[in-house]
Point group: C2
Chain length 276, copies 2
């Protein structure tokens, strides 16, 4: 999905919501266990209930890998089920030397090889250029590079001062020499909303994937105030707050209700910014 198509979806759905499919088999409603693939059944019903309200789905690879072959089958089935008008992101945080990243790219971008072809992948920056560029060889696919994350460990390295800049600023500056905003997004945690003004100095046009609204305490209003661009420029993710809104048979309806709340707030923000 190209940048212009993504912006089109945002305007059409009046939403920049990404729903994180961090689907934990121990947290889904018990009645789903009767299905051959309970995790896929859960994801399918979440997608059915929310696809008009969001522009992206983001399965978190770890939750599938933890279940071995069965988990991978759930992931492949989920990828297949994500509607083509939604940006499919695999949250995988990969990154290794060039010929290894080539293989990670096959794993997530080459359907003939692996059974999956996501639109985008999250990538870790530590190993530098050759760990990131293999993912950019695939036309129309996106790299979403970790910049400033939302958990406590982000303080360990991301804020270290290198001359006039922090490490996360250097990551953004350097990565923007590898690809432009048509192919490159950054992960910026919503709990850092006051940092968004600063981040926009270095990434004025890139889309930012923003986790941490809701469960992790970030404010949607602040994210928009400091981070929104004329093209929106934001994909705000919510995972647990939506998918685990209820643990009963009504889980999909409850998820829709939570997604709808966010979509309505997003619509108001898009209107306020004159984007729609």
């Amino acid at each position: 999905m190209s940048r212009s198509e993504l912006i089109g979806q945002i305007k059409s759905k009046k939403s920049f919501l990404c729903i994180g499919l961090d689907t934990d088999i121990d947290k889904i409603p018990a009645f789903l266990k009767q299905y051959p693939d309970p995790v896929f059944e859960f994801n399918k019903r979440i997608i059915d209930a929310t696809q008009d309200l969001c522009v992206s789905y983001k399965p978190n690879a770890a939750f599938y890998e933890s279940r071995g072959v069965k988990g991978l089958q759930s992931l492949i089935a989920t990828w297949n089920y994500i509607p083509k008008n939604c940006l499919s992101i695999i949250d995988a945080k990969r990154g290794d030397i060039g010929n290894t990243s080539d293989n990670y790219a096959k794993a997530f971008f080459n359907e003939d090889m692996s059974g999956m072809s996501f639109d985008a992948i999250t990538v870790a920056p530590y190993m530098g250029n050759d760990s990131v560029t293999p993912f950019l060889k695939y036309d129309g696919k996106w790299v979403i590079l970790l910049a400033l994350t939302s958990s406590v460990g982000s303080k360990d390295f991301q804020y270290l001062q290198i001359g006039e800049h922090t490490l996360y600023e250097r990551v953004i500056q350097t990565a923007n020499t590898w690809a432009d905003a048509e192919r490159l997004m950054f992960v910026v945690g919503a709990t850092k909303s006051t940092e968004f003004t600063n981040i926009r100095k270095y990434a004025p046009n890139n889309f930012l994937l923003v986790p941490g609204v809701g469960a992790q305490g970030g404010s949607l209003e602040d994210v928009c105030k400091y981070g929104m661009t004329k093209d929106c420029g934001l994909l705000v993710n919510s995972s647990r707050g939506i998918i685990y809104a209820s643990n009963g048979e009504d889980f999909a309806e409850a998820a829709r209700a939570e997604a709808l709340k966010l979509q309505q707030q997003m619509q108001a923000e898009l209107e306020k910014a004159g984007i729609i």
Copy 2:
């Protein structure tokens, strides 16, 4: 496998060789294609031919993930086949917020969940403490944290100067507050052999996993000269130079011959250092 057991294996086998199973289905001998799982068949024969010469095997997750479900089945079969007296390392470069890293730990350390329980995993440091510590909850398992890698991209961030230190020095210093040398190793590329003296200031006792000898140009002699400790403290990895030594029916014998050359050089270094 504990540190003392690892040191015992090194002394007994007179080797600190780790063999990287970066097994690419397009590079293995054609005759193996007749087997139901050609990649496992290849790995099995490599392991049969080399297990007395090395102390560790390190499958690279990307090469298995790129083949989807079949690849994961090859990886699980390979893990099962690695002898218990060899340290099994999954080269996965994972790292995410706490509850996600919990799931990556299940994927690679919890056999009941995923079918695999490696002794050690490579982890990326960018997201800090909570991305690393979930792997340390498993008694007797190791984290092998990226410090200074061997490819060209290592220059982008790892050498950035933070006050008196480089980023990779800060990674080593900080991570050594999370775990001791019984549970924590670092990845240090062999192409950086002159850096080993410096690294030993910050990691005097940690084992270092050293890729890049051979195909990537690093010198075993220099790595030992600057990096070896009284306990050896080194696991030197070779992947392509061993496993692809021949593309014919003699590939396992050819792999053994290459592994034997390295083991003999390692024996000489261990003797020179008075370790054996």
